[in-house]
Symmetry: C2
Subunit: 351 residues, 2 copies
């Protein structure tokens, strides 16, 4: 299913260059943070937290969603995404004592994130920062810092730091559970990402670059990267892409899909697979153009190559890696510079 890197690959924007660094970033992260994660895992096994809280915005919040699914499914820990406005705007103080508190941020500087992290620390949560800039205020606020190891990121659109945040969350739950097969799979992540980076998704370019509207569907552990793909399509390509869980899609929104409103399905080989394949079949029967990446089968308009036999927790990370060259190509085909989207800056600070 894998092809060599396409010679007609889109121009090397900063976004694309940085996305291609992700496999090395993840190799560095897995090595650099292993001891920290082992120690943190030991501590979590000794004093299991009653629940977890995530704290993030934008792409980092999508990485936090990935951590939420892993924590709930793999670690058995209910995980709440708390809106930073709860403490920063409303000055509320929800109880977080003994909870595992995960802040995710590239810059570590947005005041609202710092505010909620401070509230967590003061209330006695175990605060952990997944942060790229280890000299940031967020790194000082949290008790434990898992550096994202992504190096400087110049493009407005986060890529390597996003993949690093996914990997950091996975590394944490793997060491916490000491699940041998997951730990072995984790070791293969840089190689899986190299393969995913070389996968040619350009077959989807004609259909998706013509679309002004799109749903990106994921389910379970794959939902977070559907959210991220939709955000990247918005930011860099000016497409109104919206993420939708496979379940929510059928509750109403799929009434919108059709000829000029295709659906991109990101799927992985796990317990969600048969449901997602059924969805692809149903959409196909209704004549909705569907692009399928991953393991799902059905009457797709376009099927995209994915890394075979990847562990289901690794598969979503591989999928977003393969998606970056595609979204870069869609942006360029629509006459946009993905490095410089209208009206956006790299660091958004909200209060």
């Amino acid at each position: 299913m894998m092809s060599d890197r396409n010679d007609s690959a889109p121009a090397a924007t900063a976004m694309l260059r940085e996305a291609r660094e992700a496999p090395q970033v993840v190799a560095r992260l897995l090595e650099g943070n292993a001891a920290l994660c082992r120690e943190l895992g030991e501590r979590l096994r000794a004093s299991p937290p009653p629940f977890a809280v995530t704290c993030a915005r934008g792409s980092s919040d999508n990485a936090a969603t990935f951590a939420k699914y892993l924590l709930e499914i793999h670690s058995g820990l209910v995980t709440a995404s708390v809106g930073p406005s709860v403490t920063s705007v409303y000055a509320a103080r929800p109880r977080m004592r003994d909870a595992l508190f995960l802040a995710v941020s590239q810059s570590g500087r947005s005041p609202d994130i710092l505010h909620l992290a401070n509230a967590g620390r003061e209330d006695g949560a175990l605060t952990v920062a997944l942060v790229n800039d280890t000299s940031s205020p967020l790194a000082s606020t949290c008790e434990i810092v898992l550096p994202l190891q992504a190096g400087p990121e110049k493009s407005v659109a986060a890529t390597k730091s996003f993949i690093a945040a996914l990997a950091a969350g996975l590394q944490l739950v793997a060491h916490w559970s000491q699940d041998e097969s997951l730990l072995r799979a984790l070791d293969t992540l840089p190689e899986v990402l190299e393969q995913a980076s070389a996968a040619d998704w350009s077959a989807a370019l004609p259909l998706l670059s013509e679309a002004d509207n799109l749903f990106v569907v994921g389910r379970g552990v794959g939902f977070a990267v559907a959210q991220e793909a939709a955000l990247k399509l918005k930011e860099t390509a000016g497409v109104h892409a919206e993420a939708m869980s496979a379940a929510e899609l059928m509750h109403g929104p799929w009434t919108l899909a059709g000829d000029h409103f295709p659906i991109l399905v990101l799927s992985q080989r796990d317990e969600t697979l048969s449901g997602v394949s059924d969805l692809v079949t149903k959409l196909g029967e209704q004549g909705v153009p569907v692009v399928v990446a991953g393991a799902a089968e059905g009457p797709a308009s376009v099927t995209l190559p994915s890394v075979e036999n990847a562990h289901p927790y690794l598969a979503p990370i591989a999928m977003i890696q393969s998606f970056y060259p595609l979204v870069n190509g869609i942006a360029l085909a629509r006459g946009r510079n993905p490095d410089n989207p209208p009206r956006l800056r790299k660091v958004t600070e909200t209060v």
Copy 2:
């Protein structure tokens, strides 16, 4: 700011008829469930739960988001929206012992909701069902049932049952905290809803019925009704409307907004107000057409009347009440029957 009901009001679809019943439904609910809520409040004060879990899909999940903000801001309880697939598809068992578990559902029959509710009950959570059909399996599964008192709902688009679910969540937190001013405000909710139902939002009809894409912005306790407004615009009017928190909008998505992509802002007079007003100003400066409902000020293209001096927790409920005739009108203007959207049925069952 209030006008009498417009004589040129859109045709009385089932959706609109049912929406107009909401004030009476809420009056019935507040009276019918008061003793239950007092008792539940007493129990929660005696044994404060460590965190809360919500369990819902579709519109009911938007009502659960309202409850989440109230629980976090007013009750000081971190609240996790757990995806039903975590238990129903992945067969995971996240720990919920002693948690407050809120299931929200009109029909009480979707297998995935039942699955998660069962898991909560088995693990020792305090399970509470906000459910319209009190003969449903969900009502039997949960320890405590707060009936939504909405009566039969025929339209595919939930309206009165959605408003009832918002009111039920608010009634629960009000009795839990025994906050006298909130309890007094709650008593006025049916009257506030009557006023909101009569508010004329048709000034937004020309702009919004021309738009194929839209962001609906809310913040804090108003975010849930922004989600619901977006879902209703999708389901009934075929508009690709997406809800966005005011904070997330500025992290990237606002690059899409412009002449053919307006923004509807739902705001309330609380701690979020100055930030939301700043947002309206910023959008106006960029030439983005903005429709503003509620307290926010700024250079809006259209300003919609809202009930003056409503308690900030009541204001979002009033806003969605005023929104229903507008979305009904948008659907009709776009040649759609809001009672019978393409491809949708009243009860969606997902596993």
